[in-house]
């Protein structure tokens, strides 16, 4: 679905069902350099089971227009603008990686609008390896190769995509390279590097929060994910075994099952 936010065209996948203003809204926020497509094995389920789904392409990413936003704070405000633009006054947020920082910041800024928060492969801060950051800011494709390496667990490196015939590493790599690397991945990595408010934002939260972490995550390590969860009141933490940072694809079924249980319980269809 395409719609306008701040006079820029925005694309969001609605999970294969028409967008319906009368169903509870769930917004999915992708990680650095990625697009709505990483969410395909979560969004379609909710869309077919009574929710309205928006898996966004952040500005400058995927099929959305405009330029990439340069800070997590701006992205958080932009999510609020999206909620207004589609005519809702509340939503659930689901974020992955950088999307967790955005969701966290957004929930702390707009507590009345955000009803539940689901964080996957998150951390309170995502400082970047300086070499990786420099490569991404120079549009060097090696940045993407390194990212694919770090983002997948030992099993994911062999493949084993839940959708028959798809190969993780190359699919991820093509997603990131669908736009100029420095304009998406480079800007996003810099925004992660600069964001320091994570733990402060976390302390302010008072809403049902889920953390899905993976024991073989090399982008946001398990201990960092747990540290963030420790700063959030009553946070529900699940650890997926033998899985890397891309749990939403590497272990899509497990991720969906955990998310489903949480959302159906804390954000039921009324």
């Amino acid at each position: 679905m395409k719609f306008n936010v701040n006079n820029e065209e925005v694309f969001a996948s609605t999970g294969g069902r028409p967008f319906d203003k009368n169903k509870p809204l769930i917004i999915f926020i992708h990680g650095s350099g990625l697009t709505h497509m990483c969410w395909v094995l979560q969004t379609r389920y909710f869309a077919f089971h009574g929710y309205s789904v928006l898996a966004l392409d952040l500005p400058g990413h995927g099929l959305s227009g405009g330029k990439s936003l340069t800070s997590v704070e701006e992205m958080a405000d932009w999510i609020n603008d999206v909620i207004d633009a589609v005519g809702f006054n509340q939503t659930s947020l689901v974020g992955h990686s950088q999307g967790c920082l955005v969701a966290l910041e957004c929930a702390s800024r707009y507590p009345n609008k955000i009803k539940t928060l689901s964080l996957m492969g998150g951390a309170g801060a995502i400082p970047m390896n300086p070499e990786l950051l420099a490569l991404a800011e120079n549009s060097d494709p090696k940045a993407v190769d390194l990212m694919m390496d770090f983002a997948h667990g030992p099993s994911g490196h062999f493949g084993g995509h839940p959708v028959p015939g798809l190969y993780h590493l190359n699919t991820g790599s093509m997603l990131v390279q669908s736009k100029e690397i420095k304009d998406t991945l480079g800007v996003d990595f810099r925004a992660c590097e600069n964001y320091t408010n994570g733990f402060e934002a976390a302390k302010k939260l008072d809403l049902p929060t889920l953390s899905i972490l993976a024991d073989k995550d090399r982008m946001c390590r398990l201990k960092d994910g747990k540290k963030l969860a420790d700063h959030i009141k009553g946070s529900d933490v699940h650890v997926i075994k033998n899985c890397g940072h891309m749990m939403l694809l590497e272990e899509a079924d497990q991720t969906l099952a955990i998310l489903k249980r949480f959302i159906l319980d804390k954000y039921p269809i009324t």
């Binding site: 389920y45 099993s155 493949g159 084993g160 959708v163 798809l166 699919t171």
Partner: protein
């Protein structure tokens, strides 16, 4: 800092397979089954709606076949792949996923005989027509593009004349016209060339050939590059617009870099049913495990045979891109740096008659209609694979009456040469008789 993702030789043994999810079985299990249990009604619906990944019915997908698909995608540098019952099934499925009745294809004139037949005679029955262009006529590809053209199709090393298509330039022509480039890379395998690195968008293979190597099993595959933007124009509505067969799904919007594969599976596999059997998928994987070592030997044997044939008094001409006088020698070095493949075409002095005598008198080399076996194979195209063609069409396809097509195997090179000596000796005899 360098990425520690697995490299080619490792991928050919391991890609696509996780032993821990298969009871620790080191070898890929053969899932000899037609169908798969659903956990509950919700799971069944989720699989049919593409909400979750998984298997429903082996016409659509199968776990053993799935490993092969991922493995070849990994080796080619593609995002996804879909395996089929044969190479021809892959070509047909790929074209039918792209084209509708009324559409048009620009194709290289030097393609495998079955493909030529499909494009020239069979697809017009479905309203899909093809303009053929000689593989070296790069500008010709541009001129042949029409408003309703949906892709450019070619083999890199044209069969059987060994004319090399200038893939990077033809890719630019295709992309400037908003079209994908589809390459049949059967003769190269990803060991010799990864067409995606040179601008191809879709790669098809007959896995029956070098990829499997053993000549035991029929199989084909389509691999998607993931770079082509289907939404850049309105030429591919079945990929970009709402698809009636799947709750109004837009494949390009929902699946981006794997849209083509998702559509080929959801539509083509479901409706045409050219599925690969798990046993054959497994057989092909046994071959792929040794792809690198076999291809190295294929290529080194081929180069030795080229030298031998060039020096032979009974040989009129030799065509192989490793021969310095081959018109595509330089281009081949760039596109096929690791080796120029193991297909050699040569002309035998004494024309058709000598050719027949040669074929009838070699004993180690097998006379049959296949290529890319580990064993050395020979055939005389004018009387076999391309026998339906008249003289003019034969010439346009780059063939001649004296041409022998040789697929060099990995036997001991001296044994192959000795066998050829017998063939050449026999071929001389009718010439001596004729000269009297």
């Amino acid at each position: 800092m360098d990425p520690k993702t697995y490299k080619f030789d490792t991928l050919s043994l391991h890609a696509g397979y996780q032993p821990d999810k298969n009871g620790g079985s080191r070898q890929v299990p053969i899932y000899q089954t037609t169908s798969y249990l659903f956990d509950d009604v919700d799971h069944a619906a989720a699989l049919f709606n593409l909400e979750r990944g998984g298997h429903i019915y082996s016409r659509i997908s199968n776990p053993t076949v799935g490993v092969l698909e991922e493995r070849v995608a990994a080796l080619e540098g593609g995002t996804a792949a879909i395996a089929t019952s044969s190479g021809m099934a892959a070509i047909f499925l790929a074209i039918m996923t792209l084209c509708e009745s009324g559409d048009h294809i620009v194709a290289s004139s030097q393609v495998y005989g079955g493909t030529a037949n499909l494009l020239r005679l069979t697809l017009p029955k479905f309203g899909i027509n093809t303009t053929f262009v000689k593989p070296r006529d790069t500008e010709g590809f541009k001129k042949a593009i029409q408003k309703n053209t949906k892709c450019i199709f070619g083999e890199l090393l044209g069969n059987p004349g060994n004319e090399l298509m200038n893939m990077p330039e033809v890719a630019d022509i295709a992309h400037n016209a908003g079209l994908p480039l589809m390459i049949d890379s059967t003769y190269q395998t990803p060991y010799l060339c990864k067409p995606f690195d040179f601008g191809a968008d879709i790669v098809v293979h007959s896995l029956t050939k070098w990829m499997a190597g053993h000549g035991s099993s029929m199989a084909g595959i389509i691999v998607e590059g993931g770079k082509f933007n289907w939404m850049q124009n309105d030429k591919f509505p079945s990929l970009t617009k709402e698809y009636e067969g799947y709750h109004g799904l837009s494949f390009a919007e929902e699946f981006g870099p794997v849209a083509f594969t998702m559509k080929a599976r959801a539509e083509g596999m479901r409706d045409f049913g050219p599925c690969l059997s798990p046993q054959n998928a497994w057989n092909v994987m046994q071959g792929i495990e040794t792809l690198s070592v076999r291809m190295e030997k294929h290529c080194s044997n081929a180069e030795k045979m080229v030298e031998y044939l060039l020096a032979h008094e009974s040989v009129a001409w030799v065509s192989h891109p490793s021969a310095p006088d081959h018109p595509d020698y330089e281009l081949a070095k760039k596109i096929l740096p690791k080796g120029r493949g193991s297909m050699i075409a040569f002309g035998i002095k004494g024309g058709k008659e000598a050719g027949t005598a040669f074929i009838n008198n070699v004993k180690l080399a097998s006379h049959l209609a296949n290529v890319g076996d580990t064993r050395t194979l020979v055939i005389h195209p004018a009387s076999a694979t391309h026998s339906q063609m008249d003289e003019a069409t034969l010439k346009f396809a780059g063939l001649s009456q004296d041409m022998i097509r040789l697929s060099v195997g990995i036997e001991d090179i001296d044994d192959i040469k000795n066998d050829f000596e017998d063939g050449f000796r026999a071929a001389k005899k009718p010439m001596l008789v004729a000269n009297k």
